[in-house]
Amino acid sequence: MNEQKTNDLILQTATKLVSFIILLFSFYLFLSGHNAPGGGFVGGLITSSSIVLLLLAYDLKTVRSLLPVNFIYVAGAGLLLAVLTGVGSFVFGAPFLTHTFGYFQLPILGKTELATATIFDLGVYLVVVGITMTIIQTIGEEE
């Protein structure tokens, strides 16, 4: 392998900047999903693409030391969150997966819409991040 080393200086330096832009963008997409294009899926996918970018520019080991998470558990937790959002409606005697939303006056942010659907979407987001990273990591490790 040694003779195949290259100097990825440019790529790595740029990645430091670009991956943050991407991450920010993904958060934006996730949060704005309910009213504009975006949502948990795309947000999650873009988050993982920023991690993929890191993987491309660096390597698995580096990235794992940056993000010491088992991504399968992330996916599992996300799924659990999504399902529990549904189960939560049992408590209120509403049908499974009933969402509610309201507009609240919050400090700093002003009038904000808070919806349980967002929690569900967060579950989606986590699952998507978890599974894409699981897939890419496991395949990447298998050399």
Binding site: E3, T6, I10, L11, A14, L17, V18, I21
Partner: protein, 124 residues
């Protein structure tokens, strides 16, 4: 006001589109990967950024929307497009694509010695 803005926007957009067209023409016409990468990484960057700028102005002046997303996009393209060109060219060279025969100089030859070990697996 809006009309003048529209004219400016139209000029930006048309110019950008033409640059893009020329770049693609170049990609079609130029002899080898490296020269094509020149056309692609420069031509389309400029062309597309001009169009984006046009759209930005359009949104700004005509609909009154200050779209930071487009500015971010322009910045992003500026950063990434040359990196892409750089990486592709290096990869092309290191995977064994020869320079066009018109080339006169090759200082890079032999710097990375893993050039084409997988000759049999050239992806054609």
């Amino acid at each position: 006001m809006i009309e003048t803005a529209k004219v400016v926007v139209a000029v930006f957009i048309l110019l950008g589109a033409l640059i893009c067209l020329i770049a693609s023409f170049g990609v079609l016409r130029l002899p080898d990967v490296f020269t094509r990468a020149h056309a692609a990484s420069k031509g389309s960057t400029l062309g597309v950024n001009m169009i984006l700028l046009g759209v930005f102005f359009y949104l700004w002046f005509v609909t009154g929307e200050l779209s930071a997303k487009i500015l971010l996009g322009i910045l992003f393209i500026f950063i990434t497009s040359p990196i892409g060109g750089h990486l592709i060219c290096r990869a092309a060279y290191n995977s064994g694509v020869k320079l066009d025969e018109r080339s006169v100089q090759d200082d890079y030859n032999g710097i990375r010695n893993f050039v084409i070990k997988r000759k049999e697996d050239s992806y054609l």
